[in-house]
Subunit: 290 residues, 2 copies
């Protein structure tokens, strides 16, 4: 039953900082730093400032895959707690004026280079090491097609579907329908493609898989937004199979632990500064099991 005055937008939008649901306190209509806070710098050539969201996991998986393949990609991964507004610290906004994780400082060259946006970080590392992205030719174009597909599609899944289904202060039918339809369409795009491709692009595991897996792989495995049943994710069988193949990779298992501050203690590594950090975590797990 409806008896509601239709909403009429004002002539000029103004900020009501009280509204917004989960993450409301971290959403602002203005950019720039809110406080002075330099970033820590560790001993390795790559300094990552991140959190184990899907966009964060893309990059830690890439680092772990590079290390597993023998490249000299040692990194320090520092935790940025977005719930506490650490992305608005002055050091962070200097690296990424967009105040989003992940952000990377590449100190392997003559001068530090700031890299932001998860897709840009994947490209930067792939080109730096000539790995997981063909250097030229149609296979390179294919990988970049699907990497860009992920960058342009996931906002509908995360900022659209995930927000309205899981985080908004109340359930709204129209936005949930709009974004559920798009999330299912995207899953179907992937499912049809993966029906006759082992990997997303270029005939090999690449940064396209690493970009798509944390969003759509986890979604297909029922790990995102508690929405597996709602979106009937089991129907996308080829996505599920591909997601499991990637999930089984040891580097992926490590990458998804990094900068995860909560949840199962055995699945989290708050910060990563050395390969042995994972072994210590495994030891913690064995200790806990005793």
């Amino acid at each position: 039953m409806t008896d509601q005055t239709p909403y009429v937008p004002p002539r000029v939008w103004t900020w009501d900082s009280e509204s917004g649901g989960t993450f409301a306190s971290t959403n602002r209509p203005i950019a720039g730093p809110t406080h002075d806070k330099p970033l820590p710098v560790g001993k390795h050539p790559f300094q990552l400032y991140s959190l184990a969201t899907p966009n964060g996991v893309k990059v830690t998986v890439m680092f772990e895959e590079l290390l597993a393949a023998g490249y000299d990609a040692e990194y320090d991964a520092w935790l940025i707690n977005i719930g506490e507004g650490e992305q608005f610290g002055s050091g962070f906004t200097e690296v990424n004026p967009n105040s989003k994780i992940p952000a990377l400082v590449d100190r392997s060259g003559p001068e530090p280079v700031n890299v932001f946006e998860s897709g840009a970080i994947l490209m930067h590392l792939a080109e730096r090491f000539d790995a997981f992205l063909p250097a030229a030719g149609p296979a390179r174009t294919e990988v970049i097609n699907w990497l860009m597909w992920q960058m342009g599609s996931a906002p509908y899944l995360g900022g659209g579907f995930g927000h309205f289904y899981a985080y908004a202060p109340e359930k709204m039918e129209y936005p949930i329908n709009r974004f559920a339809m798009e999330a299912k369409r995207q899953l179907d795009v992937l499912d049809r493609h993966l029906a006759n491709h082992e990997w997303m692009a270029g005939g090999a595991y690449s940064i396209a898989d690493m970009a798509i897996w944390p969003w759509y792989g986890n979604l297909a495995l029922g790990r995102q937004y508690d929405a597996g049943e709602f979106l009937s994710v089991h129907e996308y069988e080829h996505v599920v199979d591909w997601a499991k193949r990637i999930d089984a990779r040891p580097a992926v298992q490590r990458g998804k632990m990094v900068n995860r501050p909560s949840g199962d203690p055995a699945g989290q590594l708050r910060e990563r500064h050395d390969a042995s950090d994972f072994e210590l975590r495994t030891q913690d797990k064995l200790d806990a099991a005793e």
Copy 2:
């Protein structure tokens, strides 16, 4: 006054093809072709299938800039009418399984290469001609940072703000607030950056400018969603100045006409198959003025 039963999502989402507002008929939860229709192929090495939306304009501006700079980037631009579902034709989905414009077939090499997602097309052309994207170094990383920023940000402007402010069947306060705040934040990110940069990245006009201008440049110039006053776009002075600098470029003037099927006749060129097509259009304009 509100007397409304709260919405409770069903356990399993199902498609109600009646809902959805403007563009509802073109939104579907399934991918793949809906009908057989091969794509036309013209005489030039590059075959573009597009429409003059912001994502389409990115690519036609790039082609016109390449041609203006003397590169051999001759192209046929074919109109894809998304209101009539032409993006679901079998020929189109073969090139782009995601059924979105723009899509490109590069026939300049030994075999045709399919390129989709506007950001991927910009990268592909930039690397093909070594133009508007530095080949290596920090300037290259900067350009890719901002290109990726555009790819991940504009869905909040187009699929979020634009949809709920301009196209949804009714005005909903929460989604409009959510996405207006984000659109303003994005404009502020750009404004602070452009306060001390002539161009977005790398010290020169690049594919980052070409990607960002059709969305945020047009927004700042009051041409998107009739939302200039609502978002107070005049406050983002550095974005406005940068947008005007780009708007004044002859290649941009040409690029934004291509694949535009409606509006001011002098500003539209339904298809583009030859540089002289623009001159004919100018002649039409002179004729009409007589």
